[in-house]
Assembly symmetry: C2
């Protein structure tokens, strides 16, 4: 396949590197700024630097940009995308953008398949990308306007470049789950480190501090967009979290050890039932 | 030294194993139930199974029990502890128990030094103990009634058995810091996993879920005691956490992207200034 990747940040760059490492596909990079393209070409992550004109040869277009940019890129270039070119995104939210991309897909005749690689780290940009970023991670696929054959093409590619499994979902289920598994931990980390004692944690901290605070090293532009575009499921999770913390707080303040033990035991059992 | 360890759980057991691995000291184990003693003797973590009568020969007594049991153990056996035997505890809270143990120390003439190894994991019991659990961890020391020479003996032993550094503190500072670095992450993890969608996280989760939820696999009896004995600093941290989460929630609900970016950027800068 000729694969065009638009946006060579950590995710687009990792797609490029993993496709070149694990497949024989031809990879063409497009990016707003030239530096990631030069770096990607130099390290063999792409075979050539492209322009939007390269879309005419594409069998697969991978959108590696922020969600809103993914939509505007496709809108601006929809007429250039061949009808046999599968378009996939890599956004962390789906309800907001899958309908728009599906509508463009129907209008211009190319298939669109929503995709969310459940991998990342607290750095970003092409320099943070890795050929093995997706190793054993889950690849969430939202079929949208893709045929079963298109979806199968994407699922096979995902497994070939290192994903551990493919999970099929809907935009609504995806966003509700991601609000909990990914967005809420970022809200937690960013809220946590703002305690005034945080700056003095050294010498008094260990794994618990490290793990809870890790993703506070956040890309605020990306995550502000993701949070606001998933406002309702996220605020529901924040409200639940505050409610559960308040229950523990009340038991602590009242010195009610049996109520506190019961609350904590509930949580332990949830982890045990999950085998974690 | 003859070292008596009372309580062979994960921490007492790791003291035993690391002392046998890295020093030539003679280690005597005491435990309420016989099984950990037999296991510890069988694997060479202790040189002999002792009784409270063994305290008469001790140069160092390490209390590996829950905080309240540490106090009652010393109270019940204070008359058996020689005046030249340094007593250290390993509790996660200090303001509540250091004064009591210091008072017993003054009354009976032995030195007491508060100690908190900043290491652990989400399992417990002797079977979870490791000779290298303390590798590179911080050992917090509260001098209490120990002479500078006693404190130095403990600090040298800590470094010898693998701790990366020794930090000196007061009971009040210790408890304020631990409320943030250790207790709040446990409150967070236990509150987090109680979301109703948690049980379906597989396939939709990655490192963020794993890291935030890890310590929800909690020993509820130990942590209920620790939380209630550190009620004031902990509830202050919970309140701050709820306040910071509510600020993010408000910006999300209002769709106020610049306010949200500003909040998240604050957190990113805190991590950057810490070099994390």
């Amino acid at each position: 396949m000729n694969i065009v990747i638009a946006g060579l940040g950590i995710i687009g760059g990792s797609f490029a590197k993993s496709i070149k490492k694990y497949t024989d596909h031809h990879v063409i990079g497009i990016n707003r700024s030239p530096r990631p393209l030069q770096d990607a070409l130099a390290c063999g992550a792409i075979d050539e630097i492209g322009t939007t004109a390269s879309l005419a040869q594409a069998d697969l277009l991978i959108l590696g940009t922020f969600p809103e940019v993914a939509v505007s890129f496709v809108r601006d270039n929809a007429a250039l995308i061949p009808a046999n070119c599968i378009v996939i995104d890599s956004s962390g939210i789906k309800s907001d953008i899958c309908p728009e991309l599906s509508a463009l897909s129907r209008q211009y005749g190319f298939p669109f398949v929503g995709c969310h690689p459940m991998a990342g780290k607290e750095q970003n940009g092409f320099s943070a990308s890795e050929a093995d970023l997706f190793q054993n991670a889950s690849c969430i696929i939202i079929p949208c306007t893709g045929t079963p054959q298109d979806v199968d093409t994407i699922a096979r590619l995902a497994i070939k470049i290192g994903f551990g499994k493919v999970v099929y979902s809907t935009p609504e289920e995806h966003d509700r789950m991601i609000a909990f598994t990914s967005q809420l931990p970022h809200v937690i980390a960013c809220s946590y480190v703002r305690s005034p004692v945080c700056k003095n944690h050294n010498g008094f901290s260990a794994g618990s501090y490290r793990d809870v605070s890790r993703v506070a090293h956040i890309n605020e532009k990306l995550w502000a967009e993701l949070f606001i575009e998933n406002s309702q499921p996220l605020t529901e999770e924040i409200d639940l979290m505050i409610q559960h913390m308040s229950q523990i707080r009340a038991a602590v303040t009242n010195g009610d050890r049996s109520a506190l033990e019961a609350l904590l035991a509930q949580s332990r059992k949830i982890k045990e039932e999950l085998g974690e």
